[in-house]
Every structure is written in structure tokens, then in C-alpha cells.
Subunit: 314 residues, 2 copies
């Protein structure tokens, strides 16, 4: 009986590894470094070795392992081929087949990291109990994942849930990392919030704690807003406007039960939900106006949980 | 052997009925009037009677019929309950259960009309051969349907694919039928195109055939644009900008293989695809920039085809 499965979350610096029971309990977790040298060619081998070592340590045989789920930071096509994973130095890599071969043909499921985190949050985190969930991850960039009927929408070109690149501003002058101008990511990510604050400070003389903050960050801006700093509150409103309006558009497409907001910026807590809903509600289509909004709960572990979930729901 | 199935498309004036083989051939089609009086309470009974008559005519027994699929012009929840179908005078109606009871427990599948038309186009129309399809229907309003892996995304509140109510303009002063301001429908529907043309004419003195057109319509505007009327071309550009940009956002969410454009406005033909792609491409996320764009092919029959398809893929 295959009572075990692995959930692997590949990041740019470390690979998070989890051993799960097929009932969904996390039994053990550990990390290995992500070796990006030589085009990232050691990464899958390192992961296979880590899994084999753990099997030896726990006395698991091949037939005890249902499969390995893996989330990677790049576009994943539906057949498990990763298409140009810049962060890892990968071009086109057939992760599903290559990793399975390295593991004596144990089945492997592959997903994009943001999509996989969304599945984790839907299963065990902020979206627990709902089957249709949109996850927004507000980190250095803005990522997302769409879960419908408990499954990831990966997209035909691996771009399902790439909501950070919805154009929300036609008059932006600075390009996004993707090359377009006016992407949601330019306003709602951690770096985007800082950028908006700097712009705002440059055109106002308002007294604000932000002006003397040499380590201005999304956290310091949200903290200042909570302390009623008027300039910080204005920046937070701009953030809420962009993200809330974008979510109203997203919900006209897939109409989830709940929107879950995660990533570093979401650590600001309730203020995020409040300001996003403030702008979401008037922009939302009537039928989905009462969509729920929740904070993510799994933090860094969402990816491991979602990765193993792909195996369990295959 | 159940070799037959029915596809029913309920409109505000007529109900289109189709008898199909389970291989997907349309064997017979006919229409009955939609009796909206008394809160639409005769509609399901009329449909059941039409189906029974056809079965008698064709000598089909209950066990010959796999099921009945039905598309209705209102929000449909996942359990087949229709929630406030204003066009038919319905409040909350359990269409799935009620129609099945009227038909001696033949299985019934229910969908929103725009979603069902999308499924029809994906199966047998402009999206044939693709499993992930976004349909945009440009009629009096703007409807849509999202098909992923050959299945409708109905949405948690029946609002899946309600892309006509994505807010595309923050500064609109006139409200949409839905009550919000700046919905895609206000610019990309047949009435929206006419509205944009009237606005444009009011603020320009440009010579244009549109100014003397007493029966100004989306068709006459697109015809004038094809004949190089500068004012009409400007209106068509505004149409393309709004719709192309909205589709770029939609594709960041669900990333289909193909966008199919249907409804009355789409009869203008290639000019629609050209102008929408002109604005789609610069606004699209890299990975989905080469999404295909096609015209719908099934016209008024898309609903019948999609309705029966729900039964065949159940």
C-alpha cells in the first residue's frame, strides 16, 4: 500500500521538501540548497537524492510511495514540461519524466509554484472547505493561482493565474519586469507598494514618517498606515484600489467562493482585507459581490502542501 | 441503449430545441414560443411537452434518451438551480429537478446560456479541436463563457464567464444595466458601439457617413469603417482597445488556447479579429501573446449544441 507521498517546492535559493502520509499529514520536512550553477542541471538529481535518502531513513520501499509532487518557479505546460524557468537557469525541461526516471519510475506531478501554493491554501489553508479559490500572492512580485473544483487551472501556455500581469493602469511610464507597462505587480507587490510611496512622497509636502524612513518597505508603509499616517494611508488606498479592482475583473471570469491573499505583504493582516474589499465591492459584478476574502495561512509551507496534493488528487 | 439526447436553448422569445444522436449529430431541430406570462411558470412544462411529442413522433422510448441539456438566460448554480432569471420572470427555480420530474426522471443538465453557447463553440464551432476556450458573445450585451478541459466554469455564484461586467473604464458617467459604471458591455456590445459612435460624433466635426445615418447600428459602423470612414474607424479602434485589453486580462487568469468571438457584432468578420488582436497583443502577458483568435461558427445553434454536450460529457 502506498501510504506516503512527497511534496517538493523548488525556490531560487532552497528546495523545501515534505514527506506526507496519503491522508495529508506532514510527517517530516527539510530543505536542501538549490544548485543553480551550470544551467541548474543538478537540481533534479539533488531532489531525487534527497527523496531516496529520506526513504532509506524511514525504511520506505518504492511501493510505499504514491508519488512526488513538485512546484517550480516558472511556466509549466499541462504535460509537466517546464518552459524556460529563468530563476533556475532552465530552458525547456521535462520535469515530470526526468524526475520520475531518477526515482525508479515513481509518478511525478509538476505545477507552477504559485499555482501549487494556491492548491495548498485551498486544501489546508485560508481556502480550506472551499473548492473554488483564487489565491493572490503579494511578494517581490504578484503571483496567483486559480483552483476550480479542487484542481489547478494551469493554462494552455502555463500562464493560468498569472494575475500579476493584468494591466491595471494605461498611463504607466515605467516598465514592469515582464516588459509591459501598468501591470498589477507594479502596484500591489512589496516593491510596487514602495514604488507608489516614493512617487507619492515626491509630489506631496505632507509631513509623514515615511519621508525619513531610510529602509522604506511595504511593512513600514502598512505599519504607518495602521498608525494613521495620512501619506501611508493614501498609498494603502492606491494599493487597495488597484488590487480590489483587478480582483473584481478576475471574479467575473472564474467567480470563486473565496479569494485568499498571501505572500509577505499580506502579513500586514486585516488592513489588507479591509482595503481590498473596499475597492472590490463597488467594482464587482452583483452576483459575486459577497465573495469571501481571507488571509493565507500556510506561509512558506503552502507549496509543499499543494505539491503533494497534486499527487493525491491525480 | 440510449442513443439520443436533447439540447434546449431557452431564449426570451423562443425556445430552440434539438434532437441529437449521442455521437453528436443534430437530427432534428424546431422552436417553440417562450411563454413568459405568470412568472414564466409554463416554460418548463412546454419544453417537457415538446420533448415528449418529439419522442412519440420518432418512436423513442425513455431508455433511448440519455438526457436533456438546457441553457437558460440567467445565473445557474452548480446544482442546476437557476437564481433569478429576470428575462423569463423566474425567481429561484430548480430547473434540473423540475424538468427531470416532468420527463419521467430523464437526467437533466442545466447551464447559463452564454456558458452553454461557449461549450457548443468549443465542441463543434470556432473552438473545435481545442479544450481550453474563452467565448465572447457580442450581442445587445456582452456575454461570455470559459471552457477548461472541455467543461464549463459555471462559477460559485453562477457568474463564471460574466466578462461583460469587467470594469474597463474608471471615468464612465453613465451606468451599465448592471448598475456599475464602465463595464466592458458599455463599449463592446452592439448598443455599446453605437453609444461610443454617438459620443464621438458629438465631439467632432469630422465629415462622416455616420452623422446622417438615422438607423445607426454596430453593423453600419463596422461597414463604414471597412469603407475607410475615419470617424467609424476611430470608433472601431476604441472598441478594439476595450475588448482587446479586457481579453489580455482574462487570459492572464485562465490562459486559453483560443478566444472565439461570436454574437451579432462578430458578423462584421475579420475586422473584429484584426482590431481586437491589435490591442490584445501589447497588453497580453508574454506566454499567452500568441493565443489564437477565431470567429464563432454556430450562430444561433451554439446553445443547442452546448446544451446537449453537457449531457454527453456528464
Amino acid at each position: 500500500m502506498a501510504d506516503y507521498a512527497f511534496g517538493i517546492d523548488v525556490g531560487g535559493t532552497t528546495v523545501k521538501c515534505g514527506l506526507f502520509s496519503t491522508k495529508g499529514e506532514l510527517l517530516d520536512s527539510w530543505e536542501i540548497p538549490t544548485r543553480k550553477e551550470d544551467g541548474g542541471k543538478y537540481i533534479l538529481g539533488d531532489i531525487a537524492e534527497a527523496i531516496r535518502k529520506k526513504c532509506t531513513e524511514k525504511e520506505l520501499k518504492k511501493e510505499d510511495v504514491l508519488g512526488v509532487g513538485i512546484g517550480v518557479p516558472g511556466p509549466v505546460l499541462e504535460d509537466g514540461i517546464v518552459n524556460n524557468c529563468v530563476n533556475l537557469g532552465w530552458g525547456v525541461v521535462d520535469v515530470k519524466e526526468n524526475l520520475s526516471k531518477l526515482l525508479d519510475d515513481i509518478p511525478v506531478e509538476v505545477g507552477n509554484d504559485a499555482n501549487v501554493a494556491a492548491l495548498g491554501e485551498q486544501w489546508k489553508g485560508g481556502g480550506r472547505g472551499y473548492k473554488n479559490v483564487v489565491l493572490v500572492t503579494l511578494g517581490t512580485g504578484v503571483g496567483g493561482g486559480i483552483i476550480i473544483n479542487g484542481k489547478i487551472i494551469p493554462g494552455s501556455h502555463g500562464a493560468g493565474g498569472e494575475i500579476g500581469h493584468i494591466q491595471v493602469e494605461k498611463n504607466e511610464t515605467i516598465p514592469c519586469n515582464c516588459g509591459k507597462k501598468g501591470c498589477l505587480e507594479q502596484y500591489a507587490s512589496a516593491t510596487g507598494v514602495v514604488r507608489m510611496a516614493k512617487r507619492y512622497l515626491a509630489k506631496t509636502k505632507k509631513a509623514t514618517v515615511l519621508r525619513d524612513d531610510e529602509t522604506l518597505s511595504a511593512k513600514s508603509i502598512f505599519d504607518a498606515a495602521k498608525a494613521n499616517d495620512a501619506a501611508a494611508m493614501e498609498v494603502v488606498e492606491q494599493f487597495g484600489d488597484r488590487l480590489g479592482t483587478a480582483l473584481a475583473a478576475i471574479n467575473c471570469v472564474v467567480d470563486p467562493e473565496v479569494v485568499v491573499i498571501g505572500g509577505g505583504v499580506s502579513k500586514a493582516g486585516q488592513i489588507i482585507l479591509d482595503v481590498v474589499q473596499k475597492y472590490y465591492i463597488p467594482a464587482a459584478f452583483n452576483a459575486c459581490r459577497n465573495c469571501l476574502f481571507k488571509l493565507a495561512e500556510l506561509g512558506n509551507e503552502a507549496g509543499m502542501y499543494g505539491a503533494v496534493r497534486m499527487v493525491l488528487t491525480k
